[in-house]
Amino acid sequence: MILRRPLLWLILALAALFVWLPLRNHDVALREDLILVAVAIILTSNLNLMIGYTGYVNFGHIVFYGLGGYVGLYLATVLNWNLIVAALIAGVTVSVLALLFGLGILRLRGAYFALATIGVLVAVQAFVANFEPWGRSTGMYVSFASYAPLGGARRALWITYYLIIGVMALSLVLSLGIRRSKFGLGLFAIREDEDAAIVLGVNATVYKAIIYSVSAFLPAVAGALMFFKNGMIDPSIAFEYMLSLEGIVMLMLGGQGTVAGSALGGALYERLRSYLLTSPRLSEFHLVIAGALLLLVVRLAPGGLIGWLYRLVPRSREVVE
């Protein structure tokens, strides 16, 4: 039973902490820091479903986030839909698209699949940059009036923050639920040896397409909320290639395949990244540091921080899994 997993309660405690910390002193700066951490955790934990659980490296994971942002923003500001409805529809739309793409590109394995995911990212970005209703390369802005139904811009920012925290908690619970399920076991079998898994009865084609689609849903919802909060979207910020690569660094850093590792890696790396980006001397070097970090982790601790913890304290596995 998932209710008996200590990790479930840790996840809920983390979400409660995220809600309480900025609320305490109405600290807007802290809220803005934490929302970036939450988004990093959402992206990393969903990416983990592909890389960590299924063994398929998705270099274009950010496409879900950006596309969700576009669909959500279009519905919420151009068509004036309710934000939550817009975000959910963005999630469903992107998931369905991912399912269709997935059935096509998931026939590829290993490096070929990874290349195809880059192709998807480039193709979607090129499409969006030429799509008239979404403002081509200039993108879209959220009109001030769109914040009115949420009680004005100030309140809207707090509301989107809480919604993002909700999506973060859902992402982690989803990861945990899949990990403890029969479906998850099938994914792990595919990761270990896809042909053997098929011979054992796992329908790999369908499983891979489903998990690719599932891993698209919450990032797309988060994209819709975040770009609404930011007030604008354009093709270069929506589909930031570097963020896609950094997601992989986050996952390796924390420990791929584990729920706690994806959260930990996402949170730590995002804090480091924010620090480097705002530091006057180091901001040019943040990708250099990311690359070095990735090399170090792969060489010294292939299981990431969580793998390292398991080796130091084997019993911790009981709590964290």
Partner: protein
Amino acid sequence: MTALLEVQGVSKRFGGLQAVGDVSFTLQEGEILGLIGPNGAGKTTLFNLVNGVYKTDTGSIIFSGKNITGRSPDQVVHLGLARTHQIVRPLNGMSVLENVIVGACYGREYQSLRAARATALEVLEQVGMASRANSPAHSLTLAFKKRLEVARALAARPKLLLLDEVLAGLNPTEIAQMIDLIRKIRDSGVSVFMIEHVMQAIMNLSDRILVLNLGHKIAEAPPAEVVKNPDVVEAYLGFPDIVDKLRGAS
């Protein structure tokens, strides 16, 4: 007796090589059918055709009254046809128990995780691996990896089990244990189709034996007749010690 598996005129080519050519045979319910032939005769390829790893170029495969020609391996398992691999393929990052749970979860009965766990423990007991349930699969010796192959396939609760050289690389004690296990599996109602190079074992275990050479069937008969078959002896002529073993076993 009724036929469980009916293979009609199947063939498979790899480029210029006819790996399996126009092979037909029937396997009866409850029987142990042996499959022998020199290296490269096409035995493993025939298994791969039967369980759908390869698509047949020609011919048809009827299992349990259903035409399974062209079905994928995962569909075939659900119908009750499970197999082991000649080159073992453990799911290395998982424990022995988890490996077997996968077999039960996605096998014929498509069991729930909870039921699969019970089945897996039972099967591990049956193959004598209960004490290794929690070992990582990659840490096993070859003999245990072979048993794990058998355990995973058994956990699928198959009607027919295909065993590809499960005795190869085992020492005499381990061979004796495995032979014992295969008998018990058959006695529990599972039919067996097995490839083996250990002649003594296959001659003793099999009700009938199918012989392949260069992709073609050259004999299908009870062990005592197979060893007297001149075509079979000739196929093995390049391997004098096997000819001796064939004679010795009869």
